[in-house]
């Protein structure tokens, strides 16, 4: 089975924020929650570059390791998902994540956190595929329809690639060979550098 990965080609990203918009529109995410964002590096300096970043679905996901209720699970395709019915909104995944992926809608006074929301690699959640509950909590489940994440499909320069890690790496390798520069695969060391943790069934299913 394919191992799903994101890759953002910094030589191609033009900071159009099309991926951010595509994500928001596809999943109808609430105001204040940004599953994906574009960060510009050395803004205004020579060598300016942009990177689109969201949950990278890490091999050894820190969010999964620190969650006090163990609400995360990993699909057989390496996608890191979580069960919002179990999430208590403690914010620990947000402390641990190197990419700033977990988002918390404010729920109550004093900035109290609601249930965590993050990129699902367009793979929905533990609810029944394409159910109303799944869409409401996690957004569209494109993977089960045989489609790739909306952000990557929408990318106008094909800077953002999302899909089978081997295919993505091949495309990138060819690009680097042709253009002769820009070989840095940003974030892959952090996200996929550690040994892959075995897939786990949805947390709720274990009880």
């Amino acid at each position: 089975m394919a191992r799903m990965k994101f890759l953002c080609d910094a030589e191609r990203c033009i900071e159009c924020n099309g991926c951010v918009t595509a994500c928001k529109q596809e999943h109808e995410v609430p105001w204040g929650v940004n599953r994906r964002r574009v960060v510009t590096l050395n803004d205004g300096l020579p060598g300016e570059k942009s990177i689109s970043v969201a949950c990278m679905h890490c091999s050894d996901a820190p969010c999964m390791a620190v969650c006090p209720v163990d609400c995360f699970y990993k699909t057989s395709e390496g996608v890191v998902l979580h069960d919002k019915d179990l999430c208590i909104g403690c914010g620990y995944c947000f402390y641990a994540c190197p990419f700033g992926a977990p988002q918390f809608p404010q729920d109550g006074a004093f900035g109290m956190r609601g249930k965590m929301d993050k990129c699902t690699f367009c793979a929905g959640g533990p609810e029944v595929d394409h159910s109303a509950a799944e869409f409401q909590k996690y957004g569209r489940n494109r993977l089960s329809e045989g489609k790739l994440p909306a952000c990557a499909e929408m990318c106008s320069t094909k800077a953002l690639l999302g899909g089978d890690g081997d295919v993505v790496a091949d495309i990138y390798r060819n690009r680097v060979l042709k253009r002769g520069k820009g070989a840095e695969v940003w974030g892959w060391g952090t996200a996929y550098g550690k040994p892959e943790k075995a897939p786990t069934p949805p947390a709720g299913a274990k009880s």
Partner: protein
């Protein structure tokens, strides 16, 4: 464990090196300069820039997405926090609590409770007035709520989740989070009241050194005279209630109110301090709770009703007993030795 520790030493050494070698601002400009210089000799080699991005403190990073730290592309400090929390804090902290419980249990089964040597006379002395008891129990109840909910949040995944299952444990953890977040400020307030109420009689005296030297007679059974509070109680007051109370309160406030837009690194550091301080606080509290309930005959009644028997006072707090009898002072500022019947009215005293 060894590997984690080693990683830690390496990370700490690297962090120290980075901190010592580049002041923050100088690092930003020098890395930009380094990148420019690298482009001259090796076009296309962006290593200095990427190194900068990985360190998480590049000032020229921007984003159009609003929010706290959205312009930070990568924050490696989270990994440090994960290793600390999931490693030493959970493992050593957890076993520390278990070990202290075992030690206290063993002590109790070997030595049993400290009993009075003489027969109680029935004459009661006021040890804790209504205000003293109200402050004590407010702090005590909020402390226990925080301790139990904190244990659920840190250790529940390992000790309760396998028993309860996911749905029930999630419900319990949600309740724990709410209780912890709302009772926390109450406890901080109680800590201040505790300090103000009991500081006067907890000032260290010369005879406290003697108490420490003899270990309070805990192992020998020897009688060591003390004032209203013995040196052990004073240690609990200063190290536990005051020092650890302030530490967990301050760090707790930083974690409890993310609406002030504090960064993740600060919250990670506060969480580590909060967890360590809370675990030490809990282990000390086990000693205090043991001495106040099972460990010493009559100790619980003193805080429950406010009154102690004359013999109890003489055997446990001899200097205080003499002062009260001499009419200088008593608990809660009143000085009169009370009669037995007033024990029932102790609540109103």
């Amino acid at each position: 464990m060894q590997a984690v520790l080693k990683q830690w030493l390496v990370a700490a050494t690297c962090a120290l090196f980075v901190v010592l070698s580049f002041p923050a601002v100088a690092a930003d400009t020098s890395s930009a300069q380094e990148q420019a210089a690298r482009q001259q000799v090796q076009p296309g080699n962006n290593a200095p820039m990427w190194r900068d991005v990985r360190s998480g403190n590049n000032p020229y990073q921007t984003t159009q997405v609003r929010g706290v730290e959205t312009e930070v592309l990568m924050l490696p400090a989270g990994e440090t926090w994960r290793q600390l929390r999931n490693g030493p804090i959970t493992i050593y902290g957890g076993w520390l609590i278990v070990a202290v419980m075992i030690i206290i249990g063993a002590y109790y089964s070997l030595k049993g409770p400290v009993k009075l040597h003489e027969k109680p006379t029935g004459r009661k002395l006021l040890r804790f007035g209504a205000w003293d008891r109200m402050v004590h129990w407010s702090a005590a109840i909020s402390f226990v709520l925080l301790a139990v909910t904190g244990i659920v949040i840190l250790f529940g995944k390992h000790i309760l989740l396998p028993v309860f299952g996911y749905s029930l444990f999630s419900w319990l953890a949600t309740a724990s989070k709410f209780i912890h977040n709302f009772v926390g400020p109450v406890f901080a307030f109680c800590t201040i009241l505790m300090f103000l109420t009991f500081v006067k009689d907890n000032l260290l005296k010369r005879h406290d050194l003697q108490w420490f030297a003899k270990g309070g007679g805990l192992l020998t059974g020897e009688h060591v005279p003390s004032g209203r509070f013995n040196a052990g109680e004073k240690a609990w007051f200063w190290v536990g209630v005051t020092l650890l109370g302030v530490v967990v309160s301050v760090t707790g406030f930083v974690l409890n109110f993310p609406n002030f837009e504090q960064g993740r690194e600060l919250m990670q550091q506060m969480n580590v301090i909060h967890a360590i301080a809370a675990i030490v606080f809990m282990t000390l509290s086990l000693g205090h709770i043991y001495m106040g309930t099972l460990g010493v005959e009559g100790a619980y009644e003193s805080m429950r009703t406010g009154y102690v028997d004359e013999v109890w006072a003489k055997e446990h707090h001899e200097y205080w007993y003499r002062e009260v009898v001499a009419g200088h002072k008593g608990g809660g500022g009143t000085a009169s030795p009370a009669v037995a019947s007033s024990m029932k009215e102790g609540w109103r005293a």
